[in-house]
Symmetry: C2
Subunit: 195 residues, 2 copies
């Protein structure tokens, strides 16, 4: 169609994760035809977030402040430090209501195939944070995927070498599962860790 | 997390079609963590497209000009007017290489369940356009979905009442398909067999 403003929008939308050319076209047409106000709002929200969001100096999550509200919350148990991959994982833990300690957000995970090493996920900063006075236990809550396990393994080794107590979220059968449909590795772990 | 700039971005991304809260979070985190340049480009592209894109005065598709490049192309056969639902459908017909006439883009379709009637898709403007001197055949290429068929039926009746020759893409396009997703050979056959 040779419409540069439209082509530019489709190209920019394609850079979003999980958006291919068809989805990008559909989004662009939808915004232009039915939601120009939404398009303006998204443009403003993007510019605003890029300008204002930075990393918490304590836990490395996204925040507009120097230190995020969770790290500033004096009611949280500062003896516990839970390591997660993303703010979304942190939010899931918060929703579970099972944890009242502090966090360290890696903003990624070790993934040798993608060339992401320990340095890229701020392992050094985690070691410094974990070594601060008052931290009694570091809970590794990275995902139970191949990359999450590699990350947990590498971090556990480094943390233990500094004399820190390190734990990992328990593996087991998820609530609501039929045993029949749970993968065998999970069943084997659940059996081994039975209590 | 109570981070207004981040929450605002997630909310704005959720207004995109097909994007739920999890996808919106993933997009926001990805942009902030890995592609701030992409976020800035998307913001600019959105503002730019909203400002510059309007509707072609002849065929109603999106264009930056008064009249789009297709409508201005004197090599196209002005005796044929093909009616499609969206610019994406038009693009699919163009890629099939089976059609050299002009277009009218409805930018929608009649959908009684969604309260979209003939007036909402510019049927009146289509009737004026089709009644212009030189138009010998109006080809209805709306989708072969329930809404596309209803649209074709309503437009065919109105066009025939004005004495115009009306054809429909041949069946051969599988029922239930969106034209945009049909393979090009099928589109070409359907164009050849139009009746």
């Amino acid at each position: 169609m040779a419409e540069p403003a439209l082509d530019g929008l489709v190209d920019a939308l394609r850079r979003l994760p999980g958006v291919g050319v068809k989805s990008a076209q559909r989004m662009a047409f939808h915004l232009l035809q039915h939601d120009r106000d939404g398009a303006r709002r998204l443009a403003t929200a993007l510019a605003d977030a890029v300008k204002r969001m930075r990393h918490c100096q304590r836990c490395h999550t996204f925040t507009e402040a120097e230190v995020c509200s969770t790290c500033r919350d004096s009611r949280r148990d500062a003896r516990l430090l839970c390591v997660v991959e993303t703010p979304a994982d942190q939010a899931a833990l918060e929703r579970s209501g099972s944890y009242k300690g502090l966090y360290f957000v890696l903003m990624g995970r070790i993934s040798p195939l993608d060339g992401v090493g320990a340095g890229d996920i701020g392992a050094e900063r985690l070691l410094e944070r974990a070594a601060e006075a008052g931290v009694e236990e570091v809970i590794l809550a990275t995902g139970f995927t191949a990359e999450g396990e590699v990350t947990a393994h590498a971090l556990a080794a480094a943390l233990k070498a500094r004399g820190l107590k390190v734990t990992r979220l328990a593996r087991g059968v998820p609530a609501g599962s039929e045993l029949e449909y749970v993968d065998l590795g999970t069943i084997a772990h659940a059996m081994g860790d039975r209590r």
